[in-house]
Amino acid sequence: MIGTALDLVVVALLVAAALAAVGARGLFAGVVFFVGYGVFVAIAWLRLDAIDVALAEAAIGAGLTGVLLLGAVGHLTRAGAGAPPRRPAIPLALACAGISVMLGWAVLSLPDAPGLQAPVAAALPGSGSTNPVTSVLLNFRAFDTLLESIVLLAVLVGVWALAPDAAWGGRPGLVQRVRPDGVLAGFGRLLPPLGLLVGVYLVWAGTKQPGGAFQGGTVLAAVWLLASMAGVARAPRVTSLILRAALVAGPVLFLAVGMAGALGGSFLGLRPDWAAALVLTIEVGLTLSIASALALLVLGPPERPA
């Protein structure tokens, strides 16, 4: 009973935050509501016993997306770019309500089929991880994860391609001007070591407990961004070989393991006795690549001539 009440509160907050984020008058307010909405979604995931998802949602869905949106608000404001205000659209609202009703009905009429808990549990030993989510991500459905880590890279290449031709070879993003004794600079020095620790823990824990390359990578990306904003670390040039190597290392490693498996008879197959070591290796490689890709996505294309 208490559980249901708690659920109802979370759902109410979710819907209210979503309405506020979508309908807010100001752009900035909308983004703030959206970040808040992200937090409530993470709570909802905790209620559904999905700690891995909750971590991912908090780190990526609310955190990084929020940062991206906030950054875009800044850019748009600086460019003085506006758009006509939203006009209410009754037919559209009806159609969207119709979609919601359709989906709600589908939710209520789902057949009473169990999920894949049993097959996952049966395959877990020898999959290289005791965390079923990690096993699905890096072993059972490794192909999805491989493609997904490469999607990030594709998008980064696309973002970089938007740089002015003259800026090619420069450092990503605008140059930050930070007061050396300011609050941000202080945080920038203080937080990164802490964040580094959290990030590494998340990756390492991912094989046994909730966590993993994506969540850990996001934290590490945040660390880098913070340090870069504080002026502690400068982003390398886009042509830097080390940077490029870091970006592709994880997927290349993943793909190499997969091809080795293919030579042994199954593409992306992991030998059970080596699986644990391979999973950890891939996780570490992916973390490095994901962290750099995410951080660079937030920084955006290089904008100043090299």
Partner: protein
């Protein structure tokens, strides 16, 4: 061996893309080598499929529903081969524009990985049997395609890319929603397994969502308005990939949904809507192509029309008609049409790119008398036009012939009229550029010379489009391999 044959067409472009990011100096060579390697592998795979029937592998050794299954049947392997042909040629054609000249440039860096990732996404979409995996593959494909649209960096191309982006986001979220509902209802994402279960209301909603999502991604009328500016604004090799290849991925998945997964669920309304929108697309796109004054826009609007033909397969072969004798013809015709369009459209865009380079702009009057300066490229353009119009002996003709036969056999005359009208309209909109190209008087005074080997590239593709018509019996039989309900006999002796 089969494991490698099925996984390498996906793994090789991925690996090459990663290496192209790391070592951009070698990217062009790497990409071209990958194109031909994948082409060779696909042909080999096709021969294996022809000899032994559909080939299936479970990735990581995990069978569905836990794992992801790749399957090469006639349809998948056929698309794999034709798209690899297009890709191999397009990558070679891109080399003069995008190869690094000593110093790494922005576009020179970005083009190769994006093209290769598009290739990988495409091949995955042709082979995968897993709805969520297909979603990720489509995302990889679409995001690379959008980045390629914007690669010129002008305000116009950024606008076109953003418009494309908005449509693509809607399409992919609808597809994802459908896939999620399918899993929630039946605890599997595998098309083969879903085909075996009793499908209820959640699956009906899921199929409606996925169908609309894929239709939007295939730029079906009225969700096509983003396509012409996006395709016409990109550099020629990118246009060729965007117009010839990208829409086919979502279309193949659509075919799999309605012919593999739930053929018996297709309602008359669904078939009528898909076929009707396709028919309108044929007429609308062709009429708009007639009105354009820029060559690349004509070609792009022609894509809108040509994609419309593909959707006629649903009323002609889908639903209850799937058991009829004519359905094999119509079903195969859709693939044939897609093949012919892939080859001819890529050839056309490559040729248009050469014209643009020679003349400096792509307004129609610039084409006057071009056939004397660039006979090979103009000939290639003419050959592709023959296939697009559906004139006899070309791949486009075989496709239209099969569609027409099915339309008549099933008594659905209306679709036949659309086919005939579409062919006539195509002749009209292609007549203007052709007439100018081959006109006797007047020629652009100062043309930038274009090397002959570059003109041969579109010719290769155009010839392939014509050869497809000349030798259509083999491909016809090949496409039947693994076709669901293939028990129904085709129209061939």
């Amino acid at each position: 061996m089969t494991t490698l044959l099925l996984s390498l067409p996906v793994a090789l472009p991925l690996l090459a893309a990663l290496l192209a990011v790391a070592a951009s100096r070698q990217a062009a060579g790497l990409a071209m080598a990958t194109g031909f390697l994948v082409l060779g592998l696909s042909v080999w795979l096709a021969f294996e499929v022809a000899a032994a029937g559909p080939i299936t592998i479970a990735l990581g050794g995990w069978e569905a529903p836990l794992g992801i299954v790749l399957r090469a049947d006639g349809l998948g392997a056929g698309f794999l081969v034709v798209s690899a042909m297009v890709m191999a040629v397009v990558l070679v054609a891109a080399q003069p524009s995008f190869e690094d000249q000593g110093q790494e440039s922005r576009a020179g860096f970005a083009f190769w990985p994006l093209a290769l990732l598009l290739f990988a996404g495409l091949n995955t979409a042709f082979l995968s049997r897993d709805l969520f995996n297909l979603f990720v593959a489509l995302e990889l494909l679409t995001l690379s395609a959008i980045a390629l649209v914007a690669i010129e960096g002008k305000a116009g191309s950024v606008t076109a890319a953003l418009r494309y982006m908005v449509f693509a986001l809607l399409g992919s979220v609808l597809f994802l929603l459908g896939a999620a509902l399918a899993y929630a209802a039946h605890a599997t994402l595998d098309i083969g397994l879903l085909a075996q279960v009793e499908l209820g209301w959640p699956m009906a909603a899921a199929l409606a969502l996925m169908t609309m999502g894929l239709a939007i991604k295939t730029a079906l009328f009225p969700f096509h308005a983003w396509l012409p500016p996006a395709h016409a604004g990109a550099p020629a090799p990118a246009s060729a990939m965007l117009s010839a290849l990208v829409p086919k991925a979502s279309f193949v998945i659509l075919l799999r949904l309605w012919f593999d997964l739930a053929p018996e669920l297709a309602s008359p309304l669904l078939l009528a809507v898909l076929g009707g929108l396709g028919a309108v697309a044929v007429i609308h796109g062709s009429l708009l192509a007639i009105g354009q004054d820029r060559l690349k826009l004509i070609i792009a609007y022609s894509t809108v029309a040509q994609l419309g033909y593909l959707f006629l397969v649903f009323p002609l072969a889908g639903g209850a008609g799937g058991a009829q004798p004519w359905s094999a013809g119509a079903w195969t015709a859709a693939s044939f049409h897609a093949f012919a369009h892939m080859l001819a459209k890529a050839a056309m865009f490559l040729a248009a790119g050469l014209f643009l380079r020679a003349v400096g702009h792509d307004r129609l009057e610039g084409l006057r008398g071009l056939a004397r300066a660039m006979p090979i490229a103009c000939f290639a353009f003419g050959l592709s036009a023959i296939s697009l119009m559906g004139l006899p002996l070309s791949g486009g003709f075989t496709a239209k012939y099969l569609l027409l036969t099915s339309a008549f056999a099933s008594g659905q005359w209306g679709w036949g009229l659309v086919l005939v009208a579409g062919g006539l309209l195509a002749a009209i909109y292609l007549f203007r550029p052709l007439n100018l190209m081959f006109s006797k008087e007047g020629a652009a005074a100062s043309l930038t010379p274009v090397p002959r080997w570059e003109q041969v590239l579109p010719l290769l593709l155009a010839l392939a489009a014509v050869l497809l018509g000349l030798f259509s019996a083999g491909p016809f039989a090949f496409l039947q391999i693994g076709r669901p309900g293939a028990a129904a006999e085709g129209l061939l002796p």
